[in-house]
């Protein structure tokens, strides 16, 4: 009884706290939801206080020429806005070239219509809009006596130029990669896809970071439900900060527990456009060059953009190679363990004798040998990424060659194990996408353990479980193993093989495009234009 009361009291206190907190938030919101006041000082002071008199807030008070009684102020964030542009096209016309004001028209009207010489401006009375714009890099203009303010687009911060995509190297194809700025990225896509049906939907994610996110799709090609689903999932995100598209990926992915990614990311505009043309949705996130693509199927992580640029035979050959690399990366160490421990009769006798000689000094069972070697290679790889540029490869060579060689001659590891580890590592790099490669690298370890318990039979049992997981997995309603399970013969044309472009007349049906034919797009646009 007592306990109950106590707990109830505790609950009551917590409720109170929550209420207080909510109340505080509400008052904060209320203060932001005010209108711009006619008095200039009130407005500038309000903004100054709101930003806590941060040092990067620049407030410039000045007097408009030919209207000495009218005080005005420009507010912007140092470093976020292009101060030169503000000087030249906002301050200079108002301070020096304001002759037009002498005509008897309204001052605010003249400022808006002919004095501020910037392309994108917006007049508003809502303080919230103004503050949001200020924080995004716009400049604000207030004039004393008017209960409105002007948002002037003067965004101009230092940004990285367009660079070659680092994570997706190709021999042939565009060298342009996405940058950290959302608008640059959408422009890169727009430049390659001059389709009036290309749609952009802007969203803001992150309570505090207020990160701009754009959903891109081609209307009439992408499934409407898919677009809506994507929008819903992104709108539901409750996070205070979104610094990279990975935050969004984890919040909207279909299965949190899966080792396999259900959204693809790419740094290449050409690749993003190709996905759009297949009826997928692309999500561009401000602040990262990696855009998200959904839905994603398993096979897609083994495609390189180059597959579509090189001739189809080359592409098909490379895809078969990658499949082989996938299996080597996944199962070679496990097979080694299974053969040594359970099925030595399968190894050709000459090789078996050589292997036995190589292993004769090794004091551990093959599973320990393999685990130690594979783990150290993973550490080596991780270390070489973190090492400063020029040292990386050197350490890699020292680690792999010197330590490997020494381990063999010390009799700690058998020579064949070194070969197995080397092949596995190289094969895991045969995968064009980094995140899918990591999942294979991780799955190698449980597979090795399964092999050490039951040999080939254990490997098969584990693969069956893995297959079950893959079959159940879906990405935005598209089965992950499509087009093989469920089988869509028409989509096999672009899976393990790639048929020549002249025969690829239809988009893959697994992504449920609204317009299945690839070639009639142009005709359709013209027809609509004529109407």
């Amino acid at each position: 009884m007592k306990m109950k009361r106590k707990r109830a009291a505790g609950r009551g206190r917590r409720k109170k706290e929550i209420l207080e907190k909510n109340g505080r938030e509400k008052t904060e919101k209320k203060t932001l939801d005010i209108k711009v006041q006619p008095e200039l000082e009130t407005n500038t002071e309000f903004i100054g206080k709101l930003l806590g008199d941060s040092t990067d807030v620049v407030t410039r008070h000045f007097t408009i020429q030919y209207a000495p009684d009218r005080k005005a102020a420009v507010i912007y964030l140092d470093g976020m806005s292009d101060s030169k542009a503000i000087d030249l096209y906002v301050l200079k016309p108002l301070m020096l070239d304001a002759e037009k004001i002498r005509t008897k028209t309204d001052l605010w009207h003249m400022v808006d219509q002919s004095l501020v010489q910037v392309g994108e401006t917006k007049v508003t009375e809502k303080m919230r809009d103004m503050v949001d714009s200020l924080l995004s890099g716009d400049a604000l203009l207030f004039v004393d006596g008017y209960a409105e303010g002007m948002v002037i687009n003067a965004r101009g911060w230092k940004q990285r130029g367009i660079d070659t995509p680092r994570s997706e190297n190709t021999v042939r194809g565009s060298r342009e990669g996405f940058t950290e700025t959302l608008r640059v990225n959408t422009a890169l896509i727009r430049r390659r896809l001059k389709d009036p049906d290309l749609r952009l939907k802007d969203l803001k994610v992150g309570e505090r970071t207020k990160t701009n996110v754009a959903i891109l799709f081609i209307e009439g090609v992408a499934d409407e439900k898919l677009v809506k689903e994507m929008q819903n999932r992104i709108e539901k995100i409750k996070l205070d900060g979104v610094l990279e598209s990975g935050y969004i990926e984890e919040m909207i992915q279909d299965n949190t527990w899966s080792p396999f990614p259900t959204l693809q990311n790419t740094e290449r505009p050409d690749s993003a456009v190709a996905h759009l043309l297949e009826g997928k949705v692309v999500v561009v996130v401000d602040g990262t060059p990696h855009v998200l693509v959904a839905p994603a199927i398993f096979a897609q992580f083994y495609f390189s953009p180059e597959d579509y640029f090189e001739r189809y035979l080359i592409a098909t050959f490379l895809r078969v190679l990658r499949l082989l690399a996938f299996f080597i990366a996944l199962s070679l160490p496990a097979l080694y363990i299974a053969f040594i421990g359970f099925h030595p009769e399968m190894i050709p006798s000459d090789l078996a004798i050589a292997m036995a000689a190589g292993r004769s000094t090794v004091p551990f069972p093959s599973i320990v040998e393999a685990l130690v070697m594979e783990t150290s290679v993973e550490i080596l790889r991780e270390a070489s990424i973190r090492l400063p540029g020029p040292i990386g490869p050197t350490i890699g060579i020292v680690g792999a060659l010197v330590i490997g060689e020494a381990a063999v001659s010390a009799g700690l590891v058998s020579p064949l194990m070194v070969i197995v580890v080397g092949l596995t590592t190289i094969s895991s790099y045969g995968n064009p996408s980094y995140n899918a490669a990591i999942s294979v690298r991780m799955l190698r370890f449980p597979l090795m353990i399964a092999a050490s318990i039951l040999g080939l039979y254990g490997i098969m049992l584990f693969l069956m479980l893995l297959l079950l997981h893959l079959i159940k997995l879906e990405s935005f309603g598209v089965p992950y193993l499509a087009p093989f399970s469920p089988l869509r013969l028409s989509d096999v044309k672009d899976s393990l093989i790639r048929i020549p472009w002249p025969w690829m007349k239809k988009r893959p049906v697994i992504f449920r495009p609204e317009d299945e034919k690839r070639e009639e797009v142009e005709g359709k646009v013209v027809a609509e234009g004529n109407q």
Binding site: K225, E229, R233, I252, D254, N255, T256, F342, H343, E345, M346, I347, P348, S349, L454, G455, L456, Y457, G458, I459, M460, L461, M464, L465, L467, L468, I471, K472, E474, F476, G477, V478, P479, L481, F484, S485, P486, L487, R512
Partner: protein, 387 residues
């Protein structure tokens, strides 16, 4: 965190190709490893054509079963009682009347998956994993099997669909061993049979064809039940053809006298095959690993059908499906551990093979009977609107 998404409608149904894969991989099970011996024991080289006769008989039976089942689309065996007794005042009566049939089929699925598990366990410890305890092998197989069988039949169908091509991988090896070691003299003399022997030979081959009755469950989930005949016949036809090849190869390579002595003739065939330039020697372990897939699909299809019957019969919710599978797992394990030795096991194998065609006949006749009475009722009931 599974998100709610609009699934494509064809994901919720079993496509014709998937139904082909289900039937094919259910029938292709442990029988493949030893059916040649059983047949050769009875009829010798004549097994080459008695296996075809057996295939045709099964084909006819599956055709009949499919035609009867397709009259009641999107219903499986456990729900049939409700269909027949839909307009009666007491719907549970239908369930009760149909309970013996459902129990019979469920019992068959249960026994078949237990025997298949045990047989494959015996294969493994007698050929590859000599020192591993049988318990571990069977529990591993059943455990992973339960994980798959605890899913909707559509998922099981996609599983079958994906692994189907793997089942065809060993085929070239048979041909290689026949080309290298085969002796046409072993295939003769043919047609030295009387009727009794012929019947015995056909009965012996039914063991290899066991498992076709899973369609009574999976047909309830077909996309186009009316078009089920074609994939079914194709499946039986392909299995028959595959068995025929294996029979010819086994008889051709070993001859009758040697064949009846071999425990697992198919595995011995692979020992015979030696392709020059092959990276690996002695392929039977590798073959068994691939063959595990075939056995595994047989187990999950039978086990999955059993689970689905339980779930639909009691009208359970979808989330409980995996618990049903998990609950059946220990019982299944216990039963599969029951036969004391290989002899008893083979006896069970034989009887499961023989009982299935009979069970199929019983089902066909019952369905026809119920359908006929229903049609009669319908004719007389025109003036009474159904509730």
């Amino acid at each position: 965190m599974q998100k709610e998404t609009s699934r494509s409608p064809d994901l919720d149904k079993i496509s014709p190709y998937q139904s082909f894969a289900i039937l094919f991989s259910t029938m292709l099970g442990v029988g493949v490893l030893s059916f040649q011996r059983e047949i050769a024991k009875e009829v010798g080289p004549d097994g080459i054509w008695t296996i075809l006769v057996g295939g045709v008989l099964i084909l006819a039976e599956v055709w009949l079963l499919t035609r009867v089942m397709e009259k009641y689309p999107h219903k499986n065996l456990a729900q049939f009682g409700e269909v027949f007794f839909k307009n009666r005042p007491r719907p549970w009566l239908g369930k009760l009347v149909f309970l013996p049939f459902a129990l019979l089929v469920a019992l068959f699925f249960f026994a078949a998956s237990a025997v298949v598990t045990r047989t494959f366990g015996e294969v493994l410890i007698s050929t590859v994993l000599f020192r591993t305890p049988l318990e571990v092998l069977m529990l591993g197989l059943l455990g992973v099997g339960a994980a798959v069988a605890g899913n909707r039949p559509q998922v099981i169908a996609r599983f079958n669909e994906f692994v189907f091509p793997i089942l065809l991988l060993p085929l070239p090896l048979y041909l290689v061993s026949f080309l290298q070691e085969g002796n046409l003299d072993n295939l003769f003399p043919l047609f030295h049979l009387n009727w009794v022997k012929l019947l015995k030979g056909v009965a012996a081959s039914t063991f290899a064809y066991a498992g076709f009755s899973v369609i009574v469950v999976y047909m309830g989930y077909y996309q186009q039940p009316k078009k089920a005949v074609k994939p079914h016949l194709w499946a039986i036809g392909s299995v028959t053809f595959l068995y025929w090849i294996q029979m010819v190869v086994a008889v051709g390579v070993f001859g009758r006298a040697e064949l009846v002595q071999l425990l697992w003739p198919t595995l011995d065939l692979l020992k015979v095959a030696a392709v020059p330039g092959m990276i690996l020697e002695r392929l039977e372990s590798g073959f068994l690993a691939i063959w595990m897939v075939a056995v595994f699909t047989t187990i999950i299809n039978l086990f999955g059908a059993l689970v689905d019957m339980v779930v639909t019969f009691f009208g359970m919710r979808e989330q409980h499906r995996k618990w049903v599978a998990l609950g059946l797992l220990p019982v299944l394990y216990y039963v599969s551990y029951w036969p004391a030795n290989l002899n008893t096991l083979f006896w069970w194998n034989k009887w499961i093979g023989r009982s299935e065609p009979l069970m199929g006949l019983v089902l066909i006749l019952t369905f026809l009977l119920f359908a006929m009475t229903k049609r009669g009722k319908k004719g007389g009931k025109q003036d009474v609107p159904s509730a």
